[in-house]
């Protein structure tokens, strides 16, 4: 329990409890945002001509190993690698094919929504 004494007032608050609760709320929101971006990345993929769905199964949400690292979304990461390995070719384009970004598009389109989701989560604390 933390106690803050000012001039004529005293505030008592359980900082650990509040921060723990905030961490839990942000953790849940981060997870929601990650899955939202993943869903939209798959949607963009599905719009591409010749899409077979093979790549969609290789887009995964992972938890960062680092403390406070949150979540990250990987298309064909080392653990999920299965041929054909064309995720980066689609995303960045190559000298012989046009770039068809789906990961960065999904991230950018959800940036504002993610900010709102974090704000809402914090407001509800």
């Amino acid at each position: 329990m933390a106690i803050h004494k000012g001039q004529g007032y005293t505030i008592e608050w359980d900082a650990d409890k509040v921060l723990k609760r905030a961490d839990a709320v942000l953790e849940v929101t981060s997870r929601k945002v990650a899955f939202l971006v993943k869903r939209d990345a798959i949607r963009y993929l599905m719009k591409l001509k010749g899409f077979t769905g093979n790549m969609a199964r290789q887009i995964k949400v992972h938890v960062s190993r680092y403390k406070g690292g949150g979540y990250y979304i990987i298309a064909q990461g080392s653990k999920d690698w299965h041929p054909p390995y064309y995720a980066s070719f689609l995303e960045l384009g190559t000298w012989k094919s046009e770039g068809k970004p789906f990961m960065r598009t999904a991230r950018k389109q959800n940036l504002r929504k993610a900010q709102r989701m974090y704000q809402d989560a914090i407001d509800k604390l």
């Binding site: 960045l92 960065r104 389109q109």
Partner: protein
């Protein structure tokens, strides 16, 4: 979006003496290079576009990517083109019809090579964020 593409294209073509233009011989293409295009060249395309509105203004935050490709036995040529491209576009001002250009900021650079070709193709992908705004009509 077309207005931004035009602005980028004009920026490039209005600087024919700049290293960015001369190092690729003016070969600067939208979306994809023509079949059999001579190396080196630059391709640019839109990655993402996010709109934002407030009571008076409309803002567009556009991510544009430039792909540099060079077929050479050395990485130096692609590296030099990258340096020139950065010097032309980093924090530059664009003339976008009916819009105010606010900023053009470089974000990420990735290698984009194809070593299976002979000679190998060495490339870079450079990402820029462009911010433009106009008064809402």
């Amino acid at each position: 979006m077309n207005k931004v593409f035009t602005a980028i294209y004009n920026k490039f073509n209005n600087n024919v003496a700049h290293g960015a233009y001369t190092s690729v011989g003016g070969r600067f293409y939208l979306n994809v290079a023509p079949q059999g295009a001579t190396f080196p060249y630059v391709v640019f395309f839109s990655v993402a576009d996010a709109n934002e509105y407030d009571t008076s203004d409309e803002t567009e935050d556009i991510t544009i990517q430039f792909n540099i490709f060079s077929q050479n036995n050395s990485v130096l040529e692609a590296g030099q083109i990258l340096t020139n491209l950065k010097s032309l576009f980093d924090n530059c001002s664009l003339t976008v019809t009916n819009w105010r250009h606010l900023e053009m900021r470089r974000r990420n650079t990735y290698p984009n090579n194809d070593y299976e070709q002979s000679p190998p193709i060495v490339g870079y992908s450079v990402e820029y964020d462009i911010l433009i705004e106009k008064t809402r009509s």
